[in-house]
């Protein structure tokens, strides 16, 4: 026969229907003759009742829910994240995921490099072809030469005109001190420099006549440069004679005329 202490320890299991048949009979036998344990049992019943009320409340609320709709809602709301799961796993399973930024940078670099190389090769081909006679710039044959010659002609005329002015100044001056500012050593140097640039142009056979006169003028101006500014009257006279002797002014005029007419 169980005592009160033993029975009180079994009351929770008794109300939970967790006692064996023999134990249950023993507890019930004790309860019949023990008011204290009966009161204890009543108290436990209140606690059990409260707990079961909460459970019943849950079941009542559950019975008011449309579970078919709820299942659809649950599946709809959870299936999307679920579908993302394999992607997530693949990303994490990639061993070199830390190097992804570097790989992306390298890929971008390679891509841009490939584009640049392609463009350079393409441009290079254009350049190669431009070196060939039939280039992409289809200029008529001999056109460039003609342009060059025309430029040389114009420059030569310019040079001859300047020289003509200077020589006129020289011929018209009676005394060395009267030489105008036109025939300064600075001016002579300018003309000589112009002749230097002109030399290449005058290499053309068609400008040989012009080259001859231009060279003579150059020599004269070099002489003048050496004499100027302390030029004696005799020296000036000597130069004048030289100019007249060689008929420089006349030759200049003739060559100029030829050049202007394009008969070079």
């Amino acid at each position: 026969m169980k005592d009160c202490r033993q029975v009180k320890n079994e009351l929770v299991a008794y109300l939970s229907q967790e006692l064996s048949e023999g134990q249950r009979v023993e507890v019930e036998k004790h309860l019949q003759g023990c008011l204290a344990c009966q009161r204890e049992l009543e108290e436990w019943k209140k606690v059990f009742h409260l707990v079961s009320e909460v459970k019943e409340e849950a079941q009542t609320v559950a019975s008011s829910i449309d579970w078919s709709a709820e299942a659809s809602r649950i599946v709809n709301n959870t299936w999307k994240p679920i579908q993302k799961q394999p992607e997530k796993k693949r990303r994490w399973s990639f061993p070199g995921w830390r190097w992804q930024p570097l790989a992306a940078g390298l890929s971008l670099g390679l891509f841009l490099g490939a584009i640049l190389t392609y463009l350079l090769i393409t441009t290079g081909q254009v350049r190669f072809s431009s070196r060939q006679p039939d280039s992409s710039i289809n200029l008529p044959q001999g056109f460039v030469e003609k342009v060059d010659l025309e430029l040389a002609r114009k420059q030569t005329i310019g040079y001859l005109e300047t020289s003509q002015y200077l020589l006129s100044e020289l011929l018209n001056s009676q005394k060395p001190e009267n030489l105008s500012s036109l025939l300064t050593s600075e001016k002579l140097r300018e003309v000589l420099t112009e002749k230097k640039y002109l030399n290449n142009r005058l290499e053309d056979l068609r400008l040989m006549k012009a080259k001859n006169i231009c060279d003579q003028i150059e020599m004269l101006f070099l002489e003048l440069l050496q004499l100027s500014p302390q030029m004696s009257e005799a020296e000036l006279e000597k130069i004048r004679q030289l100019v007249e002797e060689k008929q420089l002014i006349l030759k200049i005029n003739l060559v100029k005329k030829e050049l202007e007419q394009g008969e070079v």
């Binding site: 059990f48 829910i65 449309d66």
Partner: protein
Amino acid sequence: MEQKQVKLEEKEIASLVERIKQGDREAFMRLVESYQQKVFVVTYSLVRNREDALDLVQETFLRLYEKINSFRPGENFQGWLMQIARNLSIDFLRRQMVRKKESLDELDLDREVMAGAQSDPARFNPGQMLQKAVHLLPPRQKDVFILHHYEELKYEEIARRLKISVGTVKSLHFKAMQRLKEILAPQLGGNQ
């Protein structure tokens, strides 16, 4: 309301789990339909709010899928699912109480119960007190309490689930109930 709650055989569960692993939406739907009400009763009993409980049911199935690859045939599927629901609900309550700045102190709870019982019995909500009291139980006592009262498991099944002896289950259950009785006794009109 339409109640579609079918008890699934172990073989059928294993088949459904396998199909879900391969991305079968219908299999997942069938599993949800079979267990959602059971899960709801547990989540509602713990949080006592319809919407929160439904959200927790959804969260439970989401977690279930996330861990579906770790499930092995022959394991207790329902026990596993309910454990997820239980843990999620307990976490939810903890967060909720912290958010509401409700006291988690047992002494405060006792004082609250006493004050409620003495001042205004009509306003006192024993269900709410029980909810708090359950939440304050030590983890193992709480597990046994929930498994026995909300999941309606016998001591033997609880012992298997928690891998403890039936005697230990009996002892933990008794201690849990004793604690709840102590807290709720003033309102229930009995002696402590």
